[in-house]
């Protein structure tokens, strides 16, 4: 299905622009008309992280006239393995500022708009309304559903991409012409069920594989060429080096873009997606200790059994002395329970406290009433107890 161009062409290209974009201009499908549409286009990239980095670099180079960058975060050293728009000297700098500097260096003709804020239900409609198209490079379900809902309510197309370890997915959601994100995934997974990249990791170059698909689709939608990824989901497996696409149908029952919509304005996305399950929250209430408290217990010689519920690779990066590794999955399938000591106080920990809270709920249900978990996980141990350890 080909679609009409999203953006009207600018009046003209300057001599400088003709020189810069000549390799586009001599492609018959793009040509002067296509490049003038890019010049007139206003694209917002949500997130200047893994996907946002390659997306912004190529959108800038392609000559998109106005590029918005929204990110509230600062550059961390652990970002540099994949967030190629930032460099070593940018560590500690606001990501939106750092990304804007790279964009200007690549193409000074781009008008860069910096949004140094977190995207919220209070500002999303306002910010989105200034753009023709949105590129979604966020890293959590709550923001993804908010981006989708705002885009549908404003009638704007958005190019979606998502990554995990070696797997990537991409699509174009445009409710006027096809399905939305809610048609594809009606509900987010319960918290703790699907690990984030911070918990599960991501192959750095996967960002480029998926981010470049997003830019490819953005350019096609803006200029009206080719077959956009509307109504299709592209699935990429980096290990097998296979791309496959499947159909995404518009769900007539979709609560947002279906026949009888029940969502007609933005909702509470934190509540919709949760940050931690109710069971885990309940289990953790009154059963959360600090890393320092754990250290004191160990120093006193208390009879504690410390369990690290992360994965083997994470354990190898850094671990709390004395902790036994039993990954969360072994609690979920029940196999870990019978081997646990009944006569010792069990202390659970993970990277930051979310997974250990989920396991704590399982243990409480299994009768380990005095079990506790370490709030903030091994990261808080590193901060509070032993800053010489590596963080990740």
């Amino acid at each position: 299905m080909s679609l009409p161009p999203l953006v009207e062409p600018a009046a003209e290209l300057t001599v400088d622009e003709v020189r810069r974009y000549s390799r586009h201009l001599i492609i018959p499908d793009v040509g002067m008309a296509g490049q003038k549409r890019l010049k007139n286009a206003k694209v917002l990239c949500v997130g200047a992280g893994g996907l946002g980095s390659p997306a912004l670099l190529y959108l800038a180079a392609a000559g998109v006239g106005t590029l918005g960058i929204i990110d509230f975060d600062v550059v961390d050293e652990s970002n540099l393995q994949r967030q190629v728009i930032h460099g070593q000297s940018d560590v500690g700098r606001l990501k939106a500022d750092s990304a804007a500097a790279s964009v200007r260096e690549i193409n000074p003709l781009v008008n860069v708009v910096i949004h140094n804020v977190a995207l919220t239900t209070d500002n999303v409609m306002d910010i989105f309304s200034g753009y023709d198209l949105i590129v979604d490079g966020t890293d959590n379900f709550a923001t993804r559903y908010m981006v989708n809902d705002a885009a549908v309510l404003l009638g704007k197309p958005y190019v979606w991409g998502s990554i995990y370890r070696f797997d990537g997915q991409a699509s174009v959601f445009w409710s006027e012409h096809g399905p939305c994100y809610r048609c594809l995934y009606p509900e987010p997974p319960p918290p703790g069920m699907v690990p984030s990249c911070a918990e599960g990791g991501v192959l750095g170059v996967l960002c480029a594989s998926i981010g470049s698909i997003q830019v490819n689709e953005a350019i096609k939608v803006i200029t009206g060429i080719g077959e956009p990824l509307v109504g299709r989901l592209m699935i990429y497996d980096a290990l097998e080096m296979k791309y496959r696409d499947v159909k995404v149908r518009k769900d007539p029952e979709c609560p947002l873009c279906g026949k009888n919509p029940t969502i007609t304005e933005l909702i509470d996305y934190e509540a919709f997606c949760g940050t931690i399950s109710d069971e885990a929250q309940e289990a953790a209430a009154g059963a959360t200790i600090t890393a320092l408290e754990l250290k004191e217990m160990q120093d006193r010689g208390d009879d504690v059994y410390v369990i690290d519920v992360r994965e083997q690779n994470e354990y190898e990066i850094v671990n709390i002395p004395g902790a036994v590794l039993i990954p969360k999955g072994e609690f979920i399938n029940g196999s870990a329970l019978e081997g646990l000591p009944q006569d010792k106080k069990i202390v659970l920990h993970c990277k930051s406290g979310a997974r250990s809270a989920e396991v704590l709920a399982i243990l409480k249900n299994a009768g380990f009433a005095d079990a506790v978990h370490v709030g903030g996980g091994v990261l808080s141990w590193i901060k509070a107890v032993d800053p010489s350890l590596p963080t990740y």
């Binding site: 893994g50 890293d139 379900f141 991409g161 987010p188 699907v194 769900d251």
Partner: protein
């Protein structure tokens, strides 16, 4: 009926890291039952407590999302590829 089932990265802990496994069954329901028998625990990641496909997991028979066909009763002809695609949010 022999079919192939694509396992996403996130569920490969159940299949010993294998990306594609052989399945058996005339309908998706039968294929998933056999899959869970072969790889205990994987079924619960795809189906909820009431036996329905979880809302954040899509299962495709060929290139069709079974939610828009016959759901778990979707026929799985010999040789068809079944893909399990869970929502991921990384970016």
């Amino acid at each position: 009926m022999s079919v192939s089932v694509r396992i996403p990265t996130i569920l490969r802990t159940y299949t010993g890291g294998v990306a594609e496994v052989t399945g058996e069954g005339g309908t998706l329901r039968e294929v998933l039952q056999k899959l869970d028998a072969d790889y205990p625990g994987i079924g619960a990641r795809i189906l909820d407590e009431t036996g329905k496909i979880r809302r954040f997991v899509n299962v495709y028979v060929g290139e069709e999302d079974v939610r828009f066909v016959e759901g778990l009763d979707t026929a799985t002809p010999d040789g068809v590829q079944i893909s399990v695609i869970p929502a991921v949010a990384g970016g």
